[in-house]
Amino acid sequence: MTISDEMLMAYVDGELDAASRASVEAAMQEDPEIGKRVARQRALRETMQGAFAAVLNEPVPDRLIDAARGRGAAARAQTATTPQSAVADLSLSREAARRKKLPARRWQPAAMAASLLLGLGLGFLVWHRSGVLIQPGAGGGLVASAALAEALSTQLSDDRAADRVAVTGLSFRNKSGDYCRTFSLNETNASSGLACREGTDWRIEALAQSPRAAANSGNFRTAASEDSPAIRAAVEGSIDGEPLDHAGEIAARQAGWAAVPKR
């Protein structure tokens, strides 16, 4: 009988029932070529197992053991948030990892963002002399005003003309169904933020300024990339589902960015 490759592999992997196993073994007796094919498959299996056995003997980092025993810093922090917010989990555990002083990596952690977040206070207003873009709202928080509010309400995210007061980055719905948008201000002190729609206001949820912005004043893009972890963290903590695409932004703009009730 002929033995397919799949059947040989299943034989080597111990996936065959007794009858099929017997027929493979009978075929091996008859045809040495089949015996060789089985031997090659076995050798591959052993090589792969051997090559990856070393990891098993490496010491496991304490933070993982703590996490498995439910004692991780992230696990504690997480119980305060929604359990299924997957992306927030990552930021939190990355933060925990960072506290254990992992070396800095290319993938900028949300935790670092905390140190970049500047107060939502008067300091911010001073940065922007061309107009008060952010002002105290009726509810006590801060809201976008003037050109910033205008930009948030009208600009699409792929509109990146250089003369804009602000560019909008990403639009999405948060977990309460409100529309939120990230933005960057085209000013010497590059700063960026996240605003969510509240009635007819854009409520400022997060604001960040790059401490390196002054040094990089000629290079807006670099500055914006430096401070974006703060905003990323804010986005990941609040986003529900995927960001809006171009058509989604147009539809939301037409609807005046009115909150969409949760189904």
Partner: protein
């Protein structure tokens, strides 16, 4: 999971599985630091969802599956982050590691890392982690036939790259 005893018991089983979770994560993620981060996420998620674990299911396959899903979420989140403020820089961090590998001798690790992800994970779960086809298909959320064909193609490619001797056939 009704008593603290059993939760602690499962926690200790998870601790015992950590070396294997780290191994699978490295084949999933490649960068060892990212791999440990994803293991941590997966373990934390697993603890929050212990009630979803059917105790007739293998704990290792269940954790492998959570690990893989955590990585999928992370990849999506990275893609999204890349879009938030700096669309021009998206994808910048891909490909650096492969340059280094050009210089290395073929080894089982490099050969495995060269496989497409589908095949790499099938090989990793069945040949390295020793899962049954059924459990591996479950971890990867694919039908059994898909798993076996990925496994077959992955094996073929590995044989080709490693040029293994005929083995101890006598």
């Amino acid at each position: 999971m009704s008593t603290n005893d059993s939760v602690e018991n499962v926690q200790e089983q998870i601790v015992a599985l950590l070396p294997r979770l780290r191994r699978f994560a490295r084949n999933l993620v490649r960068n060892p630091h990212d791999a440990d981060d994803v293991v941590q996420i997966a373990v934390e998620r697993a603890l929050l969802r212990l009630d979803q674990w059917r105790s007739d299911a293998r704990l290792d396959s269940w954790l492998f599956k959570i690990l893989r899903n955590a990585w999928i979420d992370e990849v999506r989140a990275r893609a999204r982050r890349a879009k938030i403020l700096m669309p021009e820089e998206a994808g910048e961090q891909i490909g650096e590691a492969t340059m280094e590998r050009e210089m290395e001798r073929w080894s089982a690790e490099t050969a495995l890392s060269r496989l497409p992800e589908d095949q790499r994970l099938a090989v990793s779960l069945v040949l390295i982690e020793g899962l049954s086809y059924k459990d591996a298909a479950e971890v990867l959320d694919v039908p059994l036939g898909t798993l076996t064909s990925r496994l077959a193609r992955g094996r073929e490619a590995l044989q080709e790259m490693l040029r293994l001797p005929e083995g101890d056939v006598s």
